[in-house]
Symmetry: C2
Subunit: 321 residues, 2 copies
């Protein structure tokens, strides 16, 4: 029996899956990334995590057929290296794939995390049976992965699918990327939290202050909770975020005419509070034939989308090589 290892290297956690070939995941375990301590520390944590997962299941290294790793950040598919990553400080032009191959003497495949998640949803999740789909991850940031004709669409440099930085509002709020009015600056979890903070700071009439008491600070969840309780200020913040998300979806639909958009990530758990208005704003802003044919549905793999996508990609890679 041969096994595969699959890793989602995130800014906060490293999620590791051990799976049988062409079969189910036998172990799924999470480790802290320790990103703040820099690349060498992350490298150490990653290797220690892999060791532990194998050790716990009693699987020796030689029973592994391959390792797949997806990571956040700008990933140059063609040079197989991470150019830079906002969530992994110090990761610049690092060829994780080369280094892992050398260290582990195994076939290794690396991939951008948004692409891996999209492929996961396409193969095992809400996108099964589709040919053209887009998976959007709505959390602290906003990521996207595009599947065209059953394959990850990468573009000419490997940077396609940067949904979070679609410019949606001229002179809009400052985005983490340094530009103004990107989708992420208006519709992400951090954008919603920031709008909530601003509402409190500006002395608006809101129950937000009460909702956040005893917690460290305001998060998007607090704004959603206050909105559920009828807080008009919070309702307005969420409506605005949904409006721009719907318009960005319309943009995707006008350009790509996909049959499906899957929406996942922590914030998508808010369910119809997001889905119903986003579908509405999409239909309002998209050309009719494309807007009518696209479905917007929840992604279903949750945090496992990335590792599952990597398992499928790794199987394909091993078959082809």
């Amino acid at each position: 029996m041969e096994y595969l290892l699959s890793v989602d290297l995130g800014g906060t956690n490293i999620l590791i899956a051990l799976a049988k070939r062409k079969g189910e995941i036998v172990r799924l375990q999470q480790f802290p990334t320790g990103a703040a301590a820099g690349p060498e520390s992350v490298w150490h944590n990653l290797l220690a995590g892999l060791e532990e997962v194998l050790c716990r299941e009693g699987i020796p290294w030689h029973k592994l057929a391959g390792l797949g790793v997806c990571a956040a950040g700008f990933f140059d598919y063609y040079t197989r290296s991470i150019i830079s990553s906002p969530n992994l400080p110090g990761w610049e032009n690092i060829s994780l794939e080369e280094r892992l191959k050398e260290k582990l003497c195994l076939p290794v495949l690396t991939e951008n995390d948004a692409n891996a998640a999209a492929f996961g949803e396409f193969i095992f999740g809400a996108g099964r049976g589709k040919r053209n789909m887009v998976n959007v991850t709505l959390g602290t940031g906003i990521g996207g992965g595009i599947i065209i004709d059953g394959k990850i669409y990468r573009g000419s440099g490997g940077f396609a699918g940067e949904i979070g930085h679609i410019p949606v509002l001229p002179e809009g709020p400052l985005c983490g990327c340094g530009r103004r009015g990107c989708l992420e600056s208006l519709s992400s979890g951090s954008a919603i939290a920031r709008a909530g903070r601003a509402a409190i700071a500006e002395g608006e009439q809101t129950i937000l202050k009460k909702v956040i008491q005893n917690s460290g600070g305001i998060t998007a969840s607090h704004v959603f909770e206050a909105a559920r309780k009828g807080d008009a200020v919070s309702v307005k913040i969420i409506e605005r975020a949904n409006y721009y998300l719907g318009r960005a979806f319309a943009t995707i639909v006008n350009i790509l005419n996909p049959s499906l958009i899957t929406l996942g990530g922590g914030m998508a758990r808010a369910g119809e509070t997001i889905f119903t208005p986003v579908r509405l704003h999409l239909k309002e802003a998209a050309i009719r034939p494309s807007g009518e044919m696209v479905e917007v549905v929840p992604a279903i793999l949750g945090e496992e989308a990335g590792v599952r996508g990597m398992l499928a990609l790794l199987e394909q890679h091993l078959l082809q090589n």
Copy 2:
């Protein structure tokens, strides 16, 4: 010797090309569409045009290997019919392909005009040697065609590439499609003409009135001419159009990461007045790695892009069938 016929069926003119197989165009001729008189009249004009082109060159019908027709409008690639066309009144759910096949007993291929133009630029024009590119046609309206991996990208229904209706400004000007703030409502020739008209109507200090004297009405060309003469109002109108076009290009670049965008259509003749600011606004609004690698260059086939694209598509089609 076998020949091919290729047609670009536009709202104003029907452009017909007669070409040798795998060779040059031997005749290129334009006829009025007569769109206002309805589909039957257009059908008559099309057939009469084809007859005339063949007759002038002394080519009998039986020497033709196929006919390719591209047309403006929403074109359902999979049912092979024109769903609707803003420039061809009365064309609704018309299967031009079926009708032409029956009438002419020839292999017939139909295609959306923006896709045909993009394929033309890809095979014969500014996109030669690229794998992923987008061709944008900037005229009265704004059209787009996407080439991915050397093929026209159609999306799930055949409606991909609707660049003109990317929503770029919330609550922006009314677009011909009925929505507000589409790219076409801000950066097209008709948008620029409308802004010029509005400037005159609102009594702004502009030489536009002098520039248009003796002509029927204001067009985008008048605004460009006035801007060249230093008219501040016209300069501002064009700057605004370029700003939104650059941001729409950044959107395309963030989503698709193409190596090339070709820009054609009547307005693109304004040259660096458009290209320089559009490249700047693109780089400002796009994510860095994708924004740095994309080139924005003039399309070079002009009005022949559509018929040339159809010739290449027809050759492919005949080889495969």
